[in-house]
């Protein structure tokens, strides 16, 4: 039994936006794997829910005419990692998707919920950071498209306006084309666990030089972060083992690791460096490069 005072189940997106404009206090619910857990723990007491589950087409994965991959906010993780387009064009997102939870959770949990929940451990967030993804947000008044990094406002906080819904995640062609990628989720157990650290790397390699490198980190700071210093350093450089090590060292820059009962600060910082190294090396390999010196 959840402490809910009402449940709205609109059948179209327009209807959902209209209800949400009229009732901005409603709590949006997608797969519910975060919302219902919070309720179970006594939070959100007495909330009214706006469920997006009856809205058709919000869960589709599509290739748009300009090469952008659009992932509907309501797409569950199982759908994403099994999807042909994702397997072929952005396997790194598939890797992140299959690392989350367990099968039953992945069958219901949505990528939109994962982002909007604002958790720093969200497995899709660091990958979408690295992919330079854009978020398509809509209210009854209109839509806006913002980059991932403008979305996170603080621990558990995202920049959604009152009455605003996340509709789709857009991965522009430049974000993924010709890129090698790798996601490492580090957690004590290999399923049903929250990341101690998430490292997502995508890179484009030409003649064994970095044309582009993007690194997203989860659980390294209060919000997911990009490693711009490391990325700038890499640009144009030849792929060597030293270069990868230097990139990993620089990847620590944006990190603000903290000690908790899960892991000490020392251990987290150590992980960031070694896993960044590993993820970069693997992404390079998948991008056609070679870092054997």
């Amino acid at each position: 039994m959840f402490d809910i005072c009402e449940l709205c189940e609109p059948e179209t997106l327009a209807e959902a936006k209209a209800i949400f404009r009229a009732n901005p206090e409603l709590k949006v619910i997608a797969g519910g794997t975060d919302v219902l857990i919070r309720m179970q723990h006594g939070n959100l007491a007495g909330a009214g829910l706006l469920s997006l589950r009856n809205i058709p087409h919000l869960d589709e994965v599509q290739l748009l005419a300009d090469g952008t991959i659009s992932v509907g906010a309501m797409a569950p993780f199982t759908r994403i990692f099994e999807h042909e387009l994702i397997r072929k064009l952005v396997p790194v997102l598939g890797e992140a998707s299959v690392s989350m939870g367990g099968p039953q959770v992945r069958n219901v949990a949505t990528i939109g919920g994962n982002l909007c929940n604002g958790a720093v451990s969200a497995d899709s967030a660091s990958t979408l950071f690295a992919l330079d993804a854009l978020l398509k947000l809509e209210t009854a008044e209109g839509e806006r498209i913002i980059p991932m990094r403008d979305f996170y406002a603080g621990p558990g906080k995202v920049n959604l306006l009152p009455g605003e819904l996340l509709v789709a995640i857009l991965i522009p062609r430049e974000g993924y084309e010709g890129m090698g990628g790798h996601y490492i989720k580090f957690a004590p157990r290999k399923a049903m666990d929250i990341a101690t650290l998430g490292v997502a790397v995508v890179c484009k390699i030409r003649e064994n030089r970095f044309v582009e490198l993007r690194i997203g980190l989860g659980v390294a700071a209060p919000v997911p972060v990009r490693c711009f210093e490391a990325e700038d350093y890499a640009k144009g450089r030849e792929v060597t083992w030293e270069c990868v090590q230097e990139i990993a060292r620089l990847a620590l820059k944006p990190a603000k690791a903290r000690s908790s009962w899960r892991a000490s600060k020392d251990y987290r910082e150590h992980l960031i460096e070694v896993l960044a190294q590993r993820a970069v090396a693997e992404a390079v390999k998948r991008g056609g490069g070679c870092c054997a010196d």
């Binding site: 157990r189 399923a191 049903m192 009962w261």
Partner: protein, 746 residues
Amino acid sequence: MIGASSIRKEGRAKVLGTAIYTDDKFMPGALHGLTVRSEVPRGILRAIHFGEGIPWEEFTLVTAADIPGTNLVASVVDDQPFLIGIGEEITHSQQAVLLLAHADRHLAEKARRAVRLEIEELPAVLDIQSSLDLQPLIYGTNNLLKEIRIAKGDPDPIWAQAAHVIEGEYRTGAQEQMYIEPNAMLSVVEPKDGLLQVTVWGSLQCPYYVHGALKQLFGLPEKQVRVVAMEMGGAFGGKEDYPSVNGGHAALLAWKSGKPVRLIYDREEDLACTTKRHPSRTRLRTAFDADGNLLALEADFILDGGAYATLSPVVLSRGAVHAAGVYRCPHVRIHARAVATNTPPPGAFRGFGAPQSLFAMERHMDRCARQLSLDAVELRKKNFLRMGDTMATGQVIREDLDLAGLMDRALAAIGYRDKRAAFALTNPEDGPIKRGVGFSVFMHGCGFTGNGESHVASVAGVEGLADGTVAVLAASTEMGQGKNTVFAQIVAEALQLPVELVDTAPVDTDRVPNSGPTVASRSTMMVGRILEDAAIGFKQALVQQGFLAEPYTPASFQAAVAKAVAALGSLRCYGQYHRPPGLQWNDVTYQGDAYPTYSWACYAAEVAVDLDTFEVKVADFVAVQEVGRVVNPTLAAGQIEGGVAQGIGWGLWEEVAMQRGRMINNQMTNYIIPTSVDLPRIQVIFLENAHAGGPGGAKGIGELPMDGPAPAVVNALENALGALRLDEVPMTPDRLLERCEEVSHG
């Protein structure tokens, strides 16, 4: 029948979803019970405030003042109250203060959150060392819940003369049983024929423990209390002593409300407040001669017993008896203490103190081998117990024990020699993955320690049913270990019947006698043996009264039973425990036969350590054991596999994180037990050696597999990484990083 993998008796019901667990029992009109607990580790309860906005008049409320009988949970020592009253001392953070019940579960939960306790806080003891230092004094005159000394010979003169004296300190953390079914109780208390009748149905291992607790709580005679064990979703010791507490709580609410009450814990409450494995600290000191023969051993074994004695005295005694391990040693001194702290009391958990002391001993033996520049295999071979040797308690090994053979079998199965050689070549190479193999050799005493069996004097029986089949009458409960099946096999074998003709009667104190608690790996060996006697008595009764002629067929036996039941109304035959001749035990000196016999084992593990992340993966695992005759190979292998999984979990991941005396990772995603992708295939090998004491030669098996995995895995880690301070479990990545840095920073 014995030795065959008969199909699990209740397997069909479980796979159909028709098996009835406690929460599945239909009880119209039942109220939902909840418990209000103190959140501070120590203090004086001054007042209970009932918040606004709750229709309190609709609630059933029970406080200490309501208790009709004695407000103490019947246990080894009766020191734990069911509820803390106003003005009384709160001694841990999960102490029950108030019970409430309402028909609306949702409202009941709201009400629980609306209660505020006024507590005057007192300084608390939260770890072993503060308790030993009496900082402050919280229990009795010395903070000790129990102290045991075991002595053999005199180690004192040896230290100075010995070629080598090696010391070490080892620690193990608390561990949660994590049965998948949380603790659950139902109760009805109503007058019957003018007398109050208290009935509890629950997920419980030991119906007669709960029975005793309810008698004391209500001050009622035996006949007015009834306890029924429902299908149980796992226990592992976690439903051994705790059900006396929550069973009592459910009954109090049922009594006060006059309605049926369900008291089903949610997972977070279950994790925070129910019993765990005792955390431990063991200091070992050993003396060896120049050839590596063990001359003397001293063990200082300490358990964190939490706020009340509960089962700590008996957990301590098993841990103490196992502390010297499987080695022959002329001079032994074991000093064991269970200390009080302001934490929720730990209790029984598979292994019962032995995993703690054996972890220390088996880690210590590997460390000694390294310091003596001897091979860990050779050092053990030199010192293994053999037939005729005496153990620390003076118990003489009377069976033909071949631990070297057992160990060789395990080492061969895992490819120990080849792997050691191969890893010695590959580990120094670059690359973060280092590999190692390690093993542990250990024993587990079967049945209760010392005079436990004589004190309980278990009774079990068989009963003929109207359809001519036979029912087993025992209070042993089925928690997944397979007792329904194993008991049926034992009785079927004794009666020369197909196992289909034997089933177990529901475990209901109105129907089955007290065959003792379902603990201590005693069901098959101890209760099974009594059942064997009872079955033979049953057959003789049939023959003597002229219902059955020998030889007989299953069909003629069945017909005879049906006829006898029709003629006599009922036909039951009971057996009772008799101490086997020659067994002696002194509770005061801790000298004698601590156990009628032991199961023996060698477990070997291969690990791969990632020195980038300090993650440890168990790549291969072999479990070789001698458990007497194996009654049901499939069920027995299942016990070993599950136990090994728990042991690996304890060794690597399972950490109870405490803050201010309270578990803070009390969720299944935060307390890490292994999933299907975290474990290797476990190779299980049984070496059979019929032991005369148990039915058909069986010994105990349930707890043994918990003892060996942690030291085997950590010994393998040392093989992979070299000498580090690998003295603690769980050896989490964080801890391993710390240990590696100690070495690199000198």
